[in-house]
Amino acid sequence: MPREPATVPAVRPAAGLVGAQPGGGDAAPRRTGLPPTPGPTAASAPRRSSLTLAQQRIRSAWLFLAPMLIVLLLVAAWPLLRTVFFSFTDANLSDMSGWQFVGLDNYISLVEDPVWWRSVVNTLIFAVISVAIETALGLIIALTLDAHIPGRGLVRAAVLIPWAIPTVVSARMWAWMLNDLYGVINAALLSLGLISKPYAWLADPFLSMVSVIAVDVWKATPFMSLLLLAALQVLPREIYEAARVDGVSPVKVFFRVTLPLIRPALLVAVIFRILDALRVFDVIYVLTGNNQNTASMSIYARQQLVDFQDVGYGSAAATFLFLIVALVTIVVITFGRVNVAAAGDGR
């Protein structure tokens, strides 16, 4: 059980509750369980020995970072740099020692390949739509689970199930359920009178993209919900109480208070969903194979790397994919104003 150390001073009370400004350390009080009394003004006390203290803290920052950085470098440096390196060569799986530098040739061929651009467009459409739906649904689910409903524990576990089944299996399961002739989806929709004839969900160019997105939404929404639920848990209860007493409508409370407060967590969740969606492989590969109507960038890269044994060209595709993902992430971070550098200290 969380226990507050006795030394923790009181936090400032939230200013105007409904208009509470989010972000940084100045946000509304979190449940410290202590009475709201005015705290010391920021950094006034520590400044006494600020130089040595700041230095000390920076030193300990590196100390704290070191284990993680060392491990991450150990596992990630070689595999990633190797991919970038091979993207400038003509390496082939059949003889990995016989490569030669080819400069930017792989990238030039890639840029000239309409199939690649098709997969880029597919991936972007897929990522934008699925992440948008996942975010909206995830928010709704998280808010629902945050409310007091009977059997909440079980519902929470139930909602998480899709994330818990290995993708390779769950995608196959959906392929089975979406079969046009013996699939349960068509059977159910037919008997409910929602459709008049069975649809070929995975064969039709348009419907197959819809199906792939629907399965991904099913699969990844729990990820969103869980992270947002955790973010909601950290919000101060007092705000809701105050809002309720003031008679502010729940919708208003959500948009004016809740959303701004969970925005940082929401954005981190969205960023990781975007990373995953842009690198999507399993779901699409299992559901529709190499079909060009739905093939993603990862499927393209895999085909070159594994099926065609073309390590050089495949690595170029993977590196290009990386650049696109990085670009999108930068855009999201910039426009989402994710406070990468924000900190509770020294501001």
Partner: protein
Amino acid sequence: MIRALLAATALTFGSLAVLSSAQAEGVTVAISCSSLGIELQLCQTGADAWAKQTGNQVKLVSTPPDANERLSLYQTLLAAHSKDIDVFQIDAVWPGILATHFIDLADAVPADQKGDFFPTLIANDTVDGKLVAVPWFADAGLLYYRKDLLDKYHKPVPTTWAELADTAKAVMDGEKSATPDIQGYVWQGRSYEGLTCNALEWVYSYGGGTIVDDKGKVSIDNPQAIKALEQARTWIGTISPAGVLNYSEEESRGVFQSGKAVFMRNWPYAWSLANAGDSPIKDKVGIAVLPQGDGSDAKHAATLGGQQLAVSKYSVHPKEAADLVRYLTGADEEKRRAIQGSFNPSRKSVYSDKDVQAANPFFSGFQQILENAVARPSTVTGQKYNQVSSTFFQAVHGVLSGQSDAKSAMSGVDKTLDRVSHRGRW
């Protein structure tokens, strides 16, 4: 630097392996064959018998049945010169792709027995004059039909594609009231290797060649091939469900086995399942060679499939490994596998064996189908086969789904493959 390090570690581990194996009696040969079930059981008993006979040991490594997953695992292991697996079970289209990693097995097949294997299979496994794998069991595309329904409407087993379409239509019209969602013909139309198998059968049966001829020249852009694809295009939405464009083997079987289709193209494995105790179509199924097209060169075609055994160049015990391959592909072992697991032998002589015939009545027609089976152009295109196949099946898929017309699609394939092959030199 890193490469040197890697080499050093490899050496250390290699010598360790040699040391440890020298202490045991005989050596340990690791073989990758199948993953589970009866296939694993048969491989295990076969390999154990060899081990007992020779005083060596065998270790079975199970690998996933999914061809893509297995190939990718093999490639990673072989590209790293791994010694973990000595004998690899490989698919019919992999000899060309993996040839550089395998030893020549010419000596593993006794000279007087070489003729016993089906020549198409041996040709398929010979890359640049080197026998990189020994055929183990064979597969070929078959036409499954509903005996009861053909009898009911007094239709013969179709021998041409046009006839198949007519018969399918007639039966569908007649059965509509009893089974509203009945289909005429199901096959494998998903955008994957299986579509190459299906489409090759159509094209070849129209005398349209094998995409790339055995000299390496790209031959797909020809009128007969285009005709074949246009014919197949007409099936979608008429005798075949639109969903067939995402069917692989199991989806077609699911439809056929639940009694919802008159005809099906599939591999031999579907036979025993369609005739299983709980199958609604038990004893109502017949198999035949796939229909032929029209034109002067029309013929019945069946795409060749099956599995071979190969020995890794990086194996510490290539001699023992090759001997294991010799044993497993021997006539006695193939006979045992045919009787106990219905695996189609790669040797002709086994088909005439009485016990084999008694256990598998449908084998009799299969031998002839195998004799005339057509191999995918995987040997001549070597490393680039997957690129050829994927270019082809994606174009075919585009034609079938109505996104492009056969003529321009095939000329596109021709152009791409011409470039990929450096004008047929591969």
